[in-house]
Amino acid sequence: MITLFIISLLGVIAMLAEILKFKKLLAPLTLLGLIAAMGAGVSEWNNPVFIPVFNNMLLFNHYALAFSISLCLVTFLWFLMAQDYLKTETAITDHYALILFSLAGGIVLTAFGNMVMLFLGIEILSIPLYILAGSRKTDLASNEASFKYFLLGAFAIGFLLFGIALIYGATGSFELNTINQYILQHPGEMPAFFYAGILLIIAGLAFKVSAAPFHFWTPDVYQGAPTMITAFMSTIVKIAAFAGFFRLFSTCFVSVADSWNQLIGILAIISMLLGNITAIRQDSFKRMLAYSSISHAGYLLLAILAINNHSAGAIFLYTLAYAVASITAFAVLKKVYALKNNDLIESFNGLAKRNPLLALSITIAMLSLAGIPPTGGFFAKYVIFNTALTGGHLWLVIIAVIASLIGVYYYFKAIIASWFKPATDENLIELSLQDKLLLIITTLLTLAIGLFPEFILNLLS
């Protein structure tokens, strides 16, 4: 809870920074604030009094805390990475504020205990991003991205709300626990529209997590939005959306899993295959990452599908590993983009000669995303497969295996480009201290998650 306060407060402070003229202090303040937020999360963790606050609106249990901390951590890394970008923006304070508000929305999503909070959380998470995606106002691509994201998002929210309404109609409550109780008390008596409601909610959330076939916005928006915003979308939004998705289904609908897990399975299959296959022929690195993000949504859905003791831990580990690797990738992309002014994979050519750290980082990041040991991505994938197999979804895992094989293909394009292809420009690339620090931290984190995953895994089991 304190985490949420700190972040919200930080957002408000950021808004005021321009007026009160302490723009310069904003960056350190935000970073400190994020550390404080994480600290608050940790301290709450150690005092396990999980009282539902405000009439069950939010419940900061270990699940919520873990994801909140993880969100803050990734945001922290994001801020480290995005400093250059934010500095060039005129509306710097607005950016800070929007990002922090979005993060607050994400935290709400990790902890909600009521459908209202789910709805609000999604909206608070999304609305700043609708705007940020379009923050390059004269850039048509950015405009288009913003518009697509917004329109499709609003449309999808409509379905989500329709679903919530139907659930409400069937159970008479918005509270997750009450709904669950109601379902358990009326086994087999739920009206048909209740199930339709679940499906509509899935459709709405599938849009948020960019699972196929509700993924269409993803590549376009990722490509059109400013790179740093894309990084934010592909990491924080993903974590938060999945945290919310899983929280809803694990607390609310787990007792009627038969009615929806087939759908989740199908969405997972389509996402994994479509995301990975389409990514192969992309020239734009960002767009490729967008498709990769779709495929990762597919893997994560497997954990939701096989809801069991391990699922929460699996999703947590997976999203964290994915986010850290993505941040690395975007950090490198940022550097490449600054030199070449495009995000083509070709632009990575000869990176190893120009700056080995960049090449090494991107390599580790890509290995992690591809799920190759000893990186975090591998272990995350392992845990997901394990979870899904525990649920008995052998065929889905086989498809997931095939899909991740296809995935290797495009992740390695970046590796091959940086190590093997000759560079057009042989000059060395200078890295700022901040960038170096960031790359080293994320790379080490990626390896650490892969080698010593137990700590993270045990947080939520």
Binding site: S8, G11, N114, M117, P191, A192
Partner: protein
């Protein structure tokens, strides 16, 4: 009596909603949408949600639609400049809409819906009762939604400001 009112309002809502969709002129669409909103507000009254009906009119008809109208005026749309889809796209859209309607209705099994109205407190829809719930149970969401407004406000300002970013 109320049943007829219900049918009338439903008919009005559906027809005007359809007109929103099919009118060539955007301004007409806006006006039809306002009619729809009124019809829905009527339903709210029927459903004992008097306060909500009022808010509905104020927020939607009063604020949101005015915003729409304002933008439409600002952009100077007319019937002539209104883009329309090819026949094929229109047919596809219609068919898709129809399919969606049918499957949704089918999925809801709405003939089976057999709900008897609960004990209805006549004052439930009044401002006092609502306020009590809103400021007790839903206090947190109420507060949290301020974040949303802040964000939206900041964002709109960010986007609306004169173009001086250096991209």
């Amino acid at each position: 009596m109320t049943l007829y009112l219900f049918y009338f309002l439903s008919f009005l809502a559906i027809i005007s909603a359809l007109m929103v969709v099919v009118s060539k002129n955007p301004v007409n669409s806006v006006l039809f949408l306002i009619i729809t909103f009124f019809a829905i507000a009527g339903h709210y009254v029927l459903l004992n949600a008097q306060f909500l009906a009022a808010v509905h009119i104020i927020v939607y008809a009063g604020a949101i639609m005015v915003l729409f109208l304002y933008v439409i005026m600002m952009m100077n749309f007319s019937k002539e400049s209104e883009p329309s889809k090819t026949k094929l796209s229109q047919i596809v859209a219609t068919v898709a809409g129809g399919i969606f309607l049918i499957t949704l209705i089918g999925a809801l099994h709405f003939y089976d819906v057999d709900m008897s109205p609960g004990h209805s407190d006549p004052g439930a829809g009044l401002v006092g009762a609502l306020g009590k719930v809103l400021f007790s149970k839903f206090l947190l969401p109420f507060e949290i939604s301020s974040l949303l407004f802040l964000a939206a406000m900041t964002g709109v300002v960010l986007l609306g400001k004169k173009n001086n970013d250096n991209s």
